[in-house]
């Protein structure tokens, strides 16, 4: 049902000042269903700060972010979005299954079950493995599995390809394309070239 509606994430006149340095000013963007917004720029150009503003962690120094015409923070936005940042948000003393079950409890159930999602990210059979025993790439795939099991429309991803191998990158790109084809949208930063087949990608270069 959700895929018939169009959703929109909009940023208007955003600017961010950190320690007396202006990272960006008067930034405007709009992302619609099926689209990807790719943020580019060198280290320290404010990509992560912009993502954190979009998440609502940080208030922009001017301007506002709105979701479907309503300014964030608002409760509907938080049930429609999911964020995977630099930090995995995964507890290393818990098992794969326990971690995913908590994410599920904190959100609303999505299209896939935990087992199906583990299949998608090629972690089948790791259910009862402690996170400590996983490699960095596997952890990254697990944090992306979180996006699959909960209901969400907007994915906000900060360097999603970090520590993934070539196969992993292809896998994640497939998941992203599938998400966008099914009425989702994304905002992401990446140092890698992103190869998304048949997806409308806009990029913003921060300098």
């Amino acid at each position: 049902m959700q895929s018939n509606l169009t959703h929109q994430l909009q940023g208007e006149n955003l600017s961010c000042i950190r320690d007396d340095r202006e990272l960006f000013a008067n930034l405007c963007f709009a992302v619609h269903t099926g689209q990807v917004l790719l943020l580019e720029g060198k280290n320290g150009s404010g990509k992560t700060s912009l993502l954190r503003i979009i998440c609502g962690f940080r208030e922009p120094d001017t301007g506002a972010v709105s979701w479907c015409g309503e300014e964030i923070p608002q409760s509907q936005y938080y049930s429609d979005m999911a964020y995977v940042g630099h930090l995995d948000g995964i507890k290393k003393e818990l098992t794969v299954n326990e971690n995913l079950r908590l994410s599920l409890a904190l959100g609303q159930p999505g299209k896939l079950t935990i087992q199906q999602a583990l299949g998608k990210v090629q972690l089948v059979g790791y259910d009862d493995t402690l996170i400590q025993a996983l490699s960095a790439g596997q952890k990254r795939r697990l944090s992306l599995a979180r996006l699959l099991i909960t209901h969400n429309i907007l994915w906000i991803l900060d360097e999603p390809f970090t520590s993934l191998d070539k196969q992993g990158i292809v896998l994640v790109e497939e998941l992203m394309a599938e998400h966008c084809a099914n009425g989702g949208m994304m905002v992401m930063t990446s140092h890698h070239d992103v190869n998304l087949q048949g997806v409308d990608v806009q990029s913003i270069r921060l300098s």
Binding site: C55, R58, L106
Partner: protein, 225 residues
Amino acid sequence: MAMFDAFTAIVRRDLVLAMRRRSEIANPVLFFILVITLFPLGIGAQPKLLQAIAPGIIWVSALLATMLSLDSLFRSDFDDGSLEQILLSPYPTSILVLGKITAHWLTTGLPLLIVAPLLAVFLGMPNESLSILLITLLLGTPILSLIGAVGVALTVGLRRGGMILSLLVLPLYVPVLIFASNAVEMASTGLPVTAQINILISMLLMALVLAPWPTAAALKMSINS
């Protein structure tokens, strides 16, 4: 109810985590036992004096043991990004935070309650005041966890927040200490303690209602650094 499920999921997760890092639970209890057992050694063979100061000793130790355990409340969640995920949940942060505080009390406050009777006997506390001691601990330690949570949430983003945390939180702990140890002392002389207990109950209810909101707001601020 989905919100209640989220609350119980947080409590369950933190309890499982506590079981897997046992030293973290053992640390405050061990501290509590050690401090209390050192007092008779320091004071020497003066059972009357020991008996007189027993309520104070137990309560001061409980207070310091709780202080010692506070930092672990949000530290690991802050460091590994779980806190971001909690804040992004569509459920009210204050409810989820209350889940974390509940788990914190179950792993640090409750063990104190369990070992306290033994230590009270050790200090020669009269039997009449034993039940009152347990009641004050039952009412008082959750208040310590609730008030402490606000302080930890404010300081979790600072690298060396320990000192500021004690300065912030200890003054707020003083009323609990006064009413609780006074109740135990009065009970040992056979006087009624209803007033103190009622005040502790009202403090607990107030902390239960008022502490989760500022904690949630402070966490949002800390994550922004």
